[in-house]
């Protein structure tokens, strides 16, 4: 009799481990392919995986087999016009119909092995080795919120946390231990007393002495307290620092007349990359968009990237606004703050030192990281040189880079967030 079993509800990912093993083994190939893909495809389309191809010969599993050559006789089906003893010119390259039978056992040759990785895996490979600077440090030291967790039993504590079972157990043990010898003596005395009463009822002297003894012992046992202070056991709770899992990302962009749509597109990709990266590290992310020309304004994403303004450029206005929003809405004990600024480098000359001051005094001490990208093929201007001073002062939390084309984003991004050891 046959059994029919429905296995459809069993796990379907039995091969996951093997798949991971494969990815692990060919990680170098895959990483290279991912890096190429990143520079090729638009960063806005990060929602799907990637097709990876690896040269067939790199993943072949070698076995002993026959190569081409020698004398081989092979039977084929479907003869049409051949007759016994006929001689046929060798097909070029040994290919054609004749060679097909053999090709199947000499392996895949130089064919590419092509497969898909998921978006998750794609991003994992892309972000590999990258770690937001000070992330670890922040987790360990900068966390100001705590959660309490149970940590066993202690002898001291708050009455509301008394562990009754443990307490009574310990009291019981203490009572047994302290009254042990008295109870043995009591038992002996009682036996003796009974014996005397039974056998020598006239021996009042001894009986009385024994009764006195029994009374004393019973009183002594009674004096052992039912519950003593050192019986008390408390559930111990300890505070563990709770790493803040919220991050806010400030996107600052110059939208003055000098910024073209192409420049803004490059900036946008950089912001998206940063956003995706933060998304992988934090549960909750707020994004604040601040755009500025001569004055700064908090806007939504659409307006941030696509509306055009003209006019001069005062960068400090944006920094001031960022600082205000930080103070107002994002207390540093709850939020990890990241700043990213994109600009073409233009600024009103007198403003650049002000920018430096605001950054150094009011922003840098509170943020996890601040990046500045200058999207321009031209020479650096005053702003860049002022920022260089910031960079010197906040070596591990401030970075600036220059971008020329979209292809530069990823390398720059990598460089900016190159894994640093928590210092």
């Amino acid at each position: 009799m046959s059994h029919v079993i429905d296995r459809r509800l069993n796990g379907k990912n039995k091969s996951t481990v093997n798949r991971q093993r494969f990815l692990r083994r060919y990680r170098d190939h895959i990483k290279k392919a991912v890096e190429e893909a990143v520079s090729r495809r638009s960063i806005t389309d990060m929602e799907h995986g990637e097709q990876i191809s690896i040269p067939g010969r790199d993943i072949d599993e070698p076995v002993f087999h026959h190569g081409r050559g020698g004398k081989q006789t092979i039977v084929h089906p479907g003869n049409k016009e051949f007759v016994t003893g006929e001689r046929i010119p060798r097909p070029p390259g040994g290919g054609g119909g004749r060679g097909a039978g053999k090709a199947s056992n000499t392996g895949e040759g130089m064919d590419e092995f092509v497969f898909q990785i998921t978006q998750e895996e794609f991003l994992d490979f892309m972000f590999e080795d990258l770690e937001l600077p000070n992330l670890v440090k922040r987790h360990l030291t900068g966390a100001d919120t705590f959660k309490t967790v149970r940590a066993g039993i202690s002898n001291e504590g708050n009455p509301s946390r008394i562990n009754i079972v443990r307490t009574l157990r310990s009291a019981h043990a203490r009572r047994i231990a302290l009254s042990g010898s008295s109870r043995t003596k009591l038992k002996e005395a009682q036996l003796e007393l009974e014996r005397l009463k039974r056998e020598e009822p006239d021996n009042f002297g001894d009986i009385q002495a024994l009764e006195l003894e029994v009374g004393k012992l019973q009183a002594r046992i009674k004096r052992v307290p039912f519950l003593d202070t050192f019986d008390l056991k408390y559930n111990l709770l300890v505070k563990q620092p709770n790493p803040s899992s919220k991050a806010v990302m400030f996107c600052l962009m110059d939208v003055s007349g000098s910024m073209t749509q192409a420049t803004k597109d490059i900036a946008k990709r950089f912001f998206i990359l940063l956003y995706l990266f933060l998304k992988r590290n934090y549960d909750k992310i707020d994004v604040v968009f601040i755009r500025h020309h001569t004055s700064a304004k908090e806007v939504d994403e659409e307006e941030f990237f696509y509306s055009r303004e003209t006019g001069g450029t005062i960068v400090s206005s944006a920094l001031k606004l960022m600082q205000e929003i930080m103070a107002e809405r994002y207390p540093t004990n709850e939020w990890n703050i990241y700043g990213a600024q994109a600009s073409d480098g233009d600024n009103w000359n007198d403003d650049s030192p002000i920018c430096r001051d605001i950054l150094m005094k009011q922003i840098m001490p509170f943020v996890q990281y601040f990046t500045y990208v200058e999207i321009t093929p031209r020479e650096h201007q005053a702003l860049w040189f002022e920022y260089e001073q910031v960079s010197e002062a906040f070596d591990d939390t401030f970075a600036q880079q220059q971008l020329v084309s979209a292809g530069d984003i990823y390398p720059v991004f990598r460089e900016l967030f190159q894994r640093r050891l928590a210092t």
Partner: protein, 526 residues
């Protein structure tokens, strides 16, 4: 529509089902009917366990090369990825079924299949393959269906433990090397002891200690006694060439640790388990096709299935046994389903309606009871001998078989034989030889080891028809070097003449010894 006589009066049809959707009740009903029909032919089968799975699960099953559970290795991941890609692109339909040589016999049905396909698979796998596993002498001798699942569980756990203890990389390197030599890890002639998981576990500890002792003994360099030494040293070891390379390594490689020997053993045992399948592809598939065809037609004759059902069945059946001609772009060798099916059908024909030609070629079976003859053919042969014995002129004509001789010293190809009277015998022999694993794989054996000198291992490749070794030979030798731990020499012989040698590491390149993969070895005190 059916190949059977339609002399059976067509009763009023009372089909089991009419739609194409399947349900568990229907699968049960079809299985009962097919089982009842199979009983008429007295097919001897293991108990059947039908498991319904999804397409994803089918891909998983695929990737583990038909083992219900396997240890972890990247190559299975590679297999999975390519299956997944092909399936998703629609380049390939998944196999309709996978069947496992175990007791009870496990057959997977895919939930996407129609009712007709499910019935086909039940007939094909649960009665066809199943009875083949139980009946064929190779399977009876070399595999133990009742213990394979337990053994695989043991293997998986053991390898997982090794990974924990020695790291994934160490185990992976070892498995890579073993897999490279897997085809040389089987005993071709000696029957192995049946494997049993409990026994394995119990004996494994014992074996570890015992093995290590023996190895140390083989490599002993302390002189035993001055007199006897000379005589002992001149003896070649092993005294006979060894075809089972993995077995030899497991027993004699000087530097392996006990757990590494156990892993080699596991790969060897699994290779041995699959060995009969590799030798009986044509017979096995042909047998299963013959029975699904016969049983489904019986179902139809009894009026249990509809005409539409039968059309769908025949459509699948024909595509399974389609043989593209040699000049078709889809051609990739002879389709074992076609060849096997055609041969079994023809054996039946020879028994039932022999012609003069058949009486001349098959005097023993012409006109005999077809079922007995067919069962004998199924149980007592492997592909090579089966073809040699039963490939009939009619099948050769039907498939229009011809042979091609490709000699690299000649400019032209020769057609030595075609499907005509003088050619039959030749075609039959050539085709049989083509299915001889011994011809398909290069004949490489362990010839000797240098016990007193540099501990090098020498292999001998006996060349056949000047066929050279393939281009991955060097890689395989590196794997062998990793397992053996010392120099490897491969000598290629034509007859008694040595024509080529290969060395790992290459001769005169000893400075680069470090470039060759080695397991991290702890050299035992000897």
């Amino acid at each position: 529509m059916t190949a059977h006589d339609s002399s059976v009066p067509v009763k009023k049809r009372q089909p089991i089902s009419t739609g194409s959707e399947w349900t568990f009740e229907l699968i049960g009903a079809y299985d009962r009917e097919i089982g009842r029909l199979a009983e008429r032919y007295a097919l001897d089968t293991y108990p059947i366990q039908i498991e319904v799975i999804t397409a994803e699960q089918m891909m998983d099953a695929y990737a583990s090369v038909g083992m219900p559970l396997g240890y972890h290795h990247w190559s299975y991941g590679k297999h999975f990825l390519s299956t997944e890609k092909n399936y998703k692109r629609g380049q390939m339909g998944l196999a309709y079924e996978i069947v496992i040589n175990s007791d009870p016999c496990i057959a997977y049905l895919m939930e996407e299949n129609t009712m007709c396909m499910q019935a086909l698979v039940i007939a094909h796998a649960c009665y066809g393959h199943n009875s083949f596993f139980k009946g064929n002498y190779l399977f009876r001798t070399w595999t133990d269906a009742s213990s394979i699942v337990d053994y695989l569980v043991f293997a998986k756990q053991y390898i997982m433990k090794c990974e924990e203890r020695h790291g994934i990389d160490a185990v992976e390197d070892l498995l890579d090397s073993c897999h490279a030599l897997m085809n040389y890890g089987v005993d071709r002639y000696k029957r192995p002891d049946p494997i049993s998981a409990e026994e394995e576990q119990r004996r494994q500890k014992e074996r570890e200690e015992h093995l290590q002792k023996q190895i140390n003994d083989l490599w002993r360099t302390i002189p035993k006694g001055a007199g006897k030494r000379g005589e002992q040293d001149n003896k070649r070891f092993p005294s006979e060439p060894q075809e089972n390379i993995l077995y030899f390594l497991e027993k004699h490689a000087p530097l392996l640790e006990p757990w590494q020997r156990e892993v080699i053993r596991i790969v060897r045992k699994i290779a041995q388990y699959f060995y009969p399948q590799r030798q009986t592809q044509v017979m096995n598939e042909g047998w299963a096709c013959f029975w699904h065809y016969t049983l489904m037609n019986d179902l139809y004759d009894e009026g249990l299935v509809t005409d539409g059902f039968m059309m769908e069945f025949l459509q699948s059946h024909t595509s399974v046994i389609y043989q593209p001609p040699f000049d078709s772009p889809y051609y990739s060798g002879i389709n074992p389903y076609t060849l096997g099916f055609a041969m079994y059908r023809d054996i039946r024909r020879i028994c039932e309606e022999p012609t003069e030609e058949d009486k001349h070629w098959f005097p023993d079976i012409a006109g005999s009871d077809w079922l007995t003859t067919l069962k004998f053919a199924m149980s007592s042969f492997k592909d090579e001998s089966f073809i040699l014995q039963y490939l009939s002129p009619k099948v050769i004509r039907d498939l229009k078989l011809f042979s091609i001789l490709d000699d690299d010293q000649k400019d032209e190809l020769l057609v030595p034989a075609i499907h005509d009277e003088p050619g039959y015998q030749n075609i039959r022999e050539t085709l049989a030889a083509q299915y001889n694993l011994g011809n398909r794989e290069p004949n490489i054996q362990i010839w000797s080891i240098d016990r007193r000198g540099d501990r090098s291992l020498t292999l001998r490749h006996q060349q056949h028809d000047r066929k050279p070794l393939g281009n991955s030979t060097d890689e395989v030798l590196k794997h062998l070097h990793r397992l053996w731990g010392f120099d490897i020499h491969l000598e290629t012989l034509q007859g008694d003449k040595l024509i080529d040698t290969q060395h790992v590491p290459p001769k005169g390149d000893s400075d680069h010894d470090g470039d060759y993969p080695r397991l991290d070895l702890v050299i035992p005190p000897i």
